[in-house]
Amino acid sequence: MEEGVPIRVLGRVSGSEPGLGGIGARIGGSEPHVPVTRGRRVGGGGGSDAGPAAVQCREGSEAGCRMLRTALPLLLSLPLAGAGATNEPTQESVPLGEPPPGLALFRWQWHEVEAPYLVALWILVASLAKIVFHLSRKVTSLVPESCLLILLGLVLGGIVLAVAKKAEYQLEPGTFFLFLLPPIVLDSGYFMPSRLFFDNLGAILTYAVVGTLWNAFTTGVALWGLQQAGFVAPRVQAGLLDFLLFGSLISAVDPVAVLAVFEEVHVNETLFIIVFGESLLNDAVTVVLYKVCNSFVEMGSANVQATDYLKGVASLFVVSLGGAAVGLVFAFLLALTTRFTKRVRIIEPLLVFLLAYAAYLTAEMASLSAILAVTMCGLGCKKYVEANISHKSRTAVKYTMKTLASCAETVIFMLLGISAVDSSKWAWDSGLVLGTLFFILFFRALGVVLQTWVLNQFRLVPLDKIDQVVMSYGGLRGAVAFALVILLDRTKVPAKDYFVATTIVVVFFTVIVQGLTIKPLVKWLRVKRSDHHKPTLNQELHEHTFDHILAAVEDVVGHHGYHYWRDRWEQFDKKYLSQLLMRRSAYRIRDQIWDVYYRLNIRDAISFVDQGGHVLSSTGLGLPSMPSRNSVAETSVTNLLRESGSGACLDLQVIDTVRSGRDREDAVMHHLLCGGLYKPRRRYKASCGRHFISEDAQERQDKEVFQQNMKRRLESFKSTKHNICLTKSKPRPRKTGHKKDGVANPEATNGKPRDLGFQDTAAVILTVESEEEEESDSSETEKEDDEGIIFVARATSEVLQEGKTSGSLEVCPSPRIIPPSPTCAEKELPWKSGQGDLAVYVSSETTKIVPVEMQKGWNQSISSLESLASPPCTQPPTLTRLPPHPLGVEETQVPLDMSSDPRSSFAFPPSLAKAGRSRSESSADIAQQQELQPLMGHKDQTHLSPGTANSHWCIQFNRGGRL
């Protein structure tokens, strides 16, 4: 952008027409009183804004002249038309004519906010456009977003051009490199699957270095040859060096474009990481090549000496290794810093961004490869940073990073489109354009094939032909090339305009044509798609085993290969780096297997909670400790939870209060209300204390999660211990869950019948069905497993799971939580026998998830639990009120009740218990119950039906709390 060119958009709207004044924009001509008070150049501020455009706002005497009017029309591009054009010439003079301002009642200070305002508006427009695109699934599934954005940019650019007679808001290299690129690179570096990346590092480096060099030279030379052959018009004054320069900037695969397209294509991970890793790492090569060629061109080919070539080669190492080193240094600093943020959690995310950005700028300052620096920084720091910062900060970092990156990406593509409109900058030469297009495709393919052939000699898993096709075809060019070509100095490179035009065409072609077709191509070639599955503990453990085995075998074989070095590195990391960079508490529990375990638990718990468990959760923990709770200090986990928890938290003590006879009726009401009332627990949380993210919140969350986890554990534990879960019945709980929905729903729908009494028969029937379904559906369900929470495969847990899985009945999980109250069901539960075990079990569990701080409280509560456990029926009294439920029902609940079980005096007939457990029949009931529970937590407490259902015991509980 030329700074010197002010654009004015006159959004003068006739009085009545507000924001969309587009139409009214005509103004310029029609409005009599159109003094252009200020002609302001916008974006002067260092060109950092997206568009340095001058928007002129006339301050009419009337307030009518609003910034909004001026800005909006501009952005929307509709209205500006006539007005802008007409006023331009007068712009400079107008300000002078402004009447001396008296004491203004109302002052319009557009120019003071102009620059940032425009930036914000541009981003807003881009975001809105994104929203619009995604309104239609069809469109976005066919057309990559990047294409749409470029096209949108073209349209907007055309409008701006038409209005202003001047292209504005173009993609400026400065803006691009300093502001738009870093977030994208950071995002990709930080979230890069490091294991995968290093597994394929060899291939990535080859493609990035050799491939880029190859592309640059062959393309450059071939174009030069084309010119020599006379296919390029003589107007294009360029020598071999110029073409090499051009080749170097046009040859690099662009990370932004690749990311934008490949993220939607979902090719298999290896392929993705290779293409994407290449696009990131080739930056160093591109930068070096570009700089070297550029300086050669500026020196003139005659003055280039042999040493210069050597220097060029040397600078490749300096730039790449230097960039990587800078990144690693900052990664180290970042990790080290986050180690000490315990007291100021709030700035943790900020630190991540600041230091990463600092790495970028530092590398840029030293003219090293900034992209490489940020990539390495993100890659290097992640492990330690994630371990150090709080859970919330992690989420914050993740979302902020994603938001920034997506924002930058959006703006880049849009600006690319807009920039292409500016015909003053480019000059067309068909020979050059077509030649370039052909050569980059051809040489890319050729290069990939050659390199792959070599690489495959060394690869365990060779890249097959299809992979090569995708890799060749996925070589998208993008904004980096465009920014580089804009940076060329026209005086030194006379053919710049031609190069710009060619680059634009190439970028557009690769992003639009290739972007559009790559998806069908991938489908057509049946490229292995990525199958995302969440890791299971077993996989994680065994994977580690395999790594160790391979490392050992390499030792035995005496070959120090990849596994050997990886093993070395891990030991080094464990011994020194982690010790140094992780805070002690984090380090203590930091282990990959542990981590997976932890995450699985969290995931379980969260989904659990999300599905309505919040009421339960709060109460759940309490259950065990309830009776003895008074004795337990206020510090007990339950107390903390309750206090901090959502409104749903009931006072456990209250539970004991008697239920009235009306309870039943209430329960019915309750059922009616369930649908409307249910609220996910999360919302509560959010409302609780958003502005202040204290450790408190974190703690609370941890606790809750922990509690839930505990519950689950208990259940599973019990089931295992007691063998309750018939060995065969449980097999694939998750899977079944899926189908169960269907089964469960019918029952759930009519809650009343259930309440009255769950008929055993019904339950049985259900069970049968579910089992059948299980088998048939197993394949289906598996997929679900991946995404979902993985529950322990215990009979009890199964039931719960099923409930969860079922979309409609998501509530199921809650049942477990429900624990507290001593519903009759609990008593009946078979689990009671396991009480003793329970306590033990709990204790072991606590350690896992709970933050150290929490453990104390936890232990206390546990101890209380244990005490409870020993006396089987301590709590029962309260529970007893409820009439015993039909067996079937109870069974279903069993899993839920686990916590309470210990005390319950009832013993189910084993056979019954088994049956219930074995199948999901119970699941349906559970689901219902669950649904209810949430409601109850909030409003329904009054409605509790005491005797109605075992399922409702939870309700009662809640209610008690309220009372």
Partner: protein
């Protein structure tokens, strides 16, 4: 190739070994050299001690178990054939293996199942065909390191076993083991390229 094969010929039972393991001659030769290097006293077999001398194995948490796997059935020595047989588990799977294999022939040592079996027997110390909770716990203790407390470790163990355990016997059978890994590309993860 001439010198190579002449070397290969020196290996006892070379044809038999080649057939059984599927190694290329070059790989086998390479292994043989390694074998000889490990066999310092030139006694013609390796003892546990020989393998334990490999420095890096000492720090490998599974090192001992892997060494043990070279000495099946409590024997104290392993000859080259046995040595090669164990390592053959880690030969990459060729496409030919998968396609042209004669169904009647025993599965090659580097088949997916055999790779898994190798891993499985590292867990299954008592060779009863099941990874009991206790065995799992031991492995986890080796792998997880000291930072995790015993209690945590036990809960991880519980979960791990439960996750894989389908028949509810509180232990992981080989079938369950394979099932828990069915999504993993074992052929790739349990292969070493140089062992073609």
């Amino acid at each position: 190739m001439g010198s190579c094969s002449s070397h290969v010929a020196r290996i006892p039972d070379v044809d038999q070994i080649l057939r059984e393991t599927g190694f290329s001659q070059a790989s086998l030769l390479r292994l043989y050299h390694r074998f000889q290097a490990l066999d310092r006293e030139e006694k013609g077999y390796l003892s546990r001690l020989d393998l334990q001398r490999i420095g890096a194995l000492a720090v490998n948490p599974l090192g001992d178990r892997i060494i043990d796997s070279f000495f099946p059935n409590g024997s104290q020595r392993v000859d080259f054939a046995g040595f090669a047989r164990v390592l053959a588990h880690f030969r990459p799977v060729d496409e030919e293996d998968a396609t042209i294999r004669d169904p009647k022939q025993p599965e090659p040592l580097n088949s997916r199942m055999n790779k898994l079996r190798f891993a499985f027997q590292l867990y299954d110390l008592d060779r009863d065909g099941k990874i009991s909770r206790n065995e799992m716990l031991q492995v986890l203790r080796l792998m997880v390191g000291v930072q995790v407390t015993d209690e945590q470790l036990e809960s991880i163990t519980d979960r791990t076993v439960q996750e894989a355990d389908e028949d509810g016997d509180g232990a992981v059978s080989f079938m369950e083991f394979t099932k828990s890994l069915e999504k993993m590309n074992i052929e790739q993860k349990m292969s070493i390229r140089i062992l073609k």
